[in-house]
């Protein structure tokens, strides 16, 4: 047993950093105990009583920061201190860039240090974001605007300016994009390929791009527009520019559009633009009317999964040997193409039948009092998609971000009946990292829901990839075990259903996440749509239709 301490003078860290550091170090191999505290006379007393007082702490000044580690040997203690130092200085974060990234305090400095950069990713306070974006456009750079709280008028002005210059402004509040193979912000390591995506749905884009990659096809570009782009006020300026860019991109041979339903005027523009694009197109406007799309030869989809699979089917058709100009041959190819899409429908139907069988098995494990579903989502598009899937199965579903305004929860912290929560909404994220990064709030809510004797199913998403939580299993599984124990002590079995959005190439690894969840007793389905269908069938069977 060895006890080692390090004193940091004049260093102040916020309490959360200190606690996280202590927690991470205490859980490291070979470490018996750890304290990360400000040196005070009183804390010296506590350290003494717990066997952690060292001469260095005794000699330290009040207000110094002390890290004390008790470990089984010197090597473990030193490793723990190194880890603590890195955690406190923020150096332990994995870099996606390999070599150390250059630091610059201004856009100009960043552009000069990189040389030849043609895109700026902007994540500054909303008030300043428009000015920085404007400056980037002036320099001839495309913009990804991660910042939110940008004024509507500024967004319109920036997008008009960009369109006039042939540049993109992705955002504001744009969380995901993949440009020339580079994942930006929240995005996944997907294969490159011939499917181009334009969308106003962050996690929706992550779901379709990863499903396409996992199916063996790939992404040419994924262009995010920000959710407001498809509203009347912005008029779909960037959605149209995105379509134009994909139409002109020789690597893109199939186009996939993903968003909530655009404003009718924007929809008209999209349809008009589609008429001029020779490439096959799939559209998922979640919950929107698809008739107008079909009339124009755009292939509609109802779920993210269906959209991804249809795009894959089209891509495989496009990459097959092309027919001659002979009209009979064209007819035969068209028939082949329709057959490919038919295969998608067959596959989805088979999936649903398999899901129903699982649902019957799971419903048998429930008590008669258990008939409610609680969905706790980190992805807004998933939350929306789940509601659309569940409504026909269960009737109205309550939410803090409801599809139907009549089902708006009075208090987002309190579920009612069947409830689906979007934990990425402002009410949960002000002053906190996004729930795809920090699981604290969702973990709390999982425990709250598990205490409710009416809860039968807890439905979850898990989005991995760049930007998301790098240790999802470590942060999620103990809570699931605790929730399960709590329910079982009350004589109840709760069914946990989840989907994992990501690829094997993501830093967290999709199969590791799936295995971790399955080992913890979670039913993991390949897509959010399937997970929602299973959850809905279990509740329907257990009598939970509202």
């Amino acid at each position: 047993m060895t006890i080692k301490s390090v004193i940091y003078r004049g260093e102040y860290h916020d309490s959360v950093s200190l606690m996280n550091t202590a927690k991470a170090v205490t859980g490291a191999p070979g470490v018996k105990d750890c304290a990360v505290v400000m040196v005070t006379q009183e804390n010296r007393g506590i350290l003494k009583n717990s066997g952690l007082l060292t001469p260095e702490v005794e000699a330290a000044q009040e207000g110094d920061l002390a890290v004390v580690v008790s470990a089984q040997d010197d090597a473990s203690a030193e490793a723990a201190h190194k880890n603590a130092r890195e955690l406190l200085s923020g150096r332990n974060k994995k870099s996606s860039g390999g070599a150390a990234a250059a630091k610059a305090s201004t856009l100009e400095g960043a552009a000069e240090s990189l040389g030849g950069a043609n895109m700026a990713v902007i994540s500054v306070a909303g008030r300043y974001a428009a000015a920085v974006a404007d400056s980037a456009l002036e320099r001839g750079m495309h913009v990804m605007l991660f910042s939110d709280n940008v004024k509507l008028a500024d967004e319109v002005a920036l997008k008009k300016k960009a369109a006039a210059k042939g540049l993109l402004v992705m955002g504001p509040d744009c969380g995901t994009a993949i440009i020339n193979g580079a994942p930006l912000c929240f995005a996944n390591a997907v294969s490159r390929g011939m499917i181009g995506v334009v969308g106003a749905a962050g996690t929706g884009m992550q779901e379709v791009t990863t499903l396409i990659s996992n199916e063996g096809e790939g992404i040419s570009q994924a262009i995010g527009t920000g959710g407001r782009d498809i509203k009347r006020d912005v008029g779909g300026i960037m959605f149209m520019e995105g379509l134009k860019a994909l139409a002109a991109d020789p690597a893109t041979r199939v186009i996939l559009m993903v968003s909530k339903p655009p404003h009718p005027e924007v929809m008209e523009k999209i349809v008009e633009a589609a008429r001029g694009i020779a490439k096959p197109m799939v559209a998922l406007f979640l919950g929107g009317d698809t008739a107008i799309l079909e009339e124009e030869g755009i292939y509609p989809a109802k779920t993210l999964e269906e959209a991804a699979l249809k795009a894959v089917a089209l891509a495989r058709f496009e990459s097959a040997p092309q027919p001659s100009s002979d009209s009979n041959a064209l007819a035969r190819e068209t028939n082949r193409y329709l057959m490919a899409l038919k295969d998608v429908e067959t596959r989805l139907n088979h999936s649903e039948n398999d899901i129903k069988r699982i649902a019957f098995d799971e419903a048998r494990k429930l008590n008669p009092s258990q008939n409610c579903l609680r969905g706790l989502y980190t992805g807004g598009t998933f939350c929306y998609e789940a509601q659309l899937i569940l409504e026909p199965l269960l009737g109205g579903v309550w939410s803090n971000a409801p599809v139907s305004p009549a089902y708006k929860l009075k208090d987002a912290l309190r579920s009612e009946g069947n409830t689906i929560i979007d934990l990425g909404e402002d009410e949960f994220t002000v002053g906190r990292p996004h729930p795809m990064i920090d699981f604290t709030l969702r973990n709390r809510r999982i425990l709250d829901e598990a205490r409710d004797p009416a809860v039968a199913v807890i439905l979850l998403d898990l989005v991995i990839g760049w930007g998301s939580n790098m240790k999802p299993m470590e942060d999620l599984l103990p809570t699931l075990a605790q929730a399960r124990d709590m329910a079982e002590r009350g004589g109840r079995h709760i069914v946990f259903v989840a989907s994992v959005t990501g690829t094997e190439q993501d830093p967290q690894g999709r199969s590791a996440a799936v295995k971790g969840l399955r080992d913890a007793g979670v039913i993991v389905l390949p897509t959010n749509a399937q997970a929602a269908i299973l959850a809905g069938h279990i509740i329907r069977i257990s009598g939970g239709r509202q």
Binding site: S15, A35, L52, R127, Y128, V430, R432
Partner: protein, 260 residues
């Protein structure tokens, strides 16, 4: 500048403290809240002139134009009495949500097995609380001050909450408990940590941040949010600071020493 983080920067001059924060931290007796907070823009020092203009990083902010926050807890006797009557119910809500190592955990009726640093910390917290309950305020404050984790140690946060609770008791019972407050305040002052010293001073005078104020209102039945939400908001400050302060506040209202 005393300390700077992503969402706050604290400026200390002698015993005076100014906390510049973003909207997520929200209003408090020492907080100057910026809609878009950026510590780098404010820079290493700030100057607050008598006319209310704050100069920082080459920028000037007219604080007279800012919305004011009244940090005083309500003083109506019936409201304070109702808050005291309901405080016990809030303890159970607090215990459901309080993080590990927070002093709220020392209020668990059946504490789990404890060892090592965490165990010693809880033991010290319980000893300090027992002294408070026996009316040994000076010894209690000396026992609790500077104890625990965090930039503002848990014991100091707990004492801040406790002082705020005494302010409520004064109004609830119509008693002058100033001697009790001053004893605790005087014993708790470290003279070395300007943050906790300033927070203790505010608490002694009855100045509370919005989280504790909302918790009080929930106890009194006048809050716009549910008790659960009020407790969660109170906890959701720092790593353990919010739970520590809420624990001290509830402790003062539920385990009052009645020799005064």
């Amino acid at each position: 500048m005393h300390s700077s983080f992503a969402r706050a920067a604290n400026y200390a001059a002698g015993a005076k403290l100014l906390c510049t924060v973003g909207p997520e931290a929200g209003p408090g007796p020492l907080n100057l809240v910026f809609d878009d907070f950026d510590a780098q823009l404010l820079g290493a020092s700030v100057e607050l002139a008598q006319d209310g203009v704050l100069s920082a990083g080459g920028l000037a902010f007219d604080t007279r134009q800012a919305q004011r926050y009244d940090s005083a807890l309500p003083s109506a006797q019936n409201v304070c009495s109702r808050a005291q009557e309901n405080a016990g119910k809030f303890l159970s809500l607090l215990l459901k949500k309080a993080p590990e190592l927070s002093f709220a955990r020392a209020l668990e009726p059946q504490p789990g097995p404890e060892s090592g640093f965490a165990g010693e910390l809880m033991r010290a917290a319980r000893e300090g609380m027992e002294l408070l309950q026996k009316g040994h305020y000076y010894d209690a404050a000396r026992k609790l001050r500077g104890t625990g984790v965090g930039l503002t140690p848990s014991g100091d946060d707990f004492l801040c909450g406790y002082l705020l609770g005494i302010n409520v008791l004064e109004h609830a019972h119509g008693k002058n408990l100033n001697y009790r407050k001053q004893t605790i305040y005087g014993a708790a002052l470290s003279g070395r940590n300007p943050l906790t010293d300033a927070f203790l001073s505010c608490a002694c005078e009855g100045g509370a941040g919005w989280r504790i104020k909302q918790l009080f209102e929930a106890m009194a039945g006048t809050a716009a949010v549910t008790p659960q939400r009020a407790v969660e908001a109170a906890i959701d400050h720092g790593a353990t600071s919010g739970a520590d302060t809420a624990a001290g506040f509830i402790f003062a209202l539920t385990r009052e020493h009645d020799d005064d």
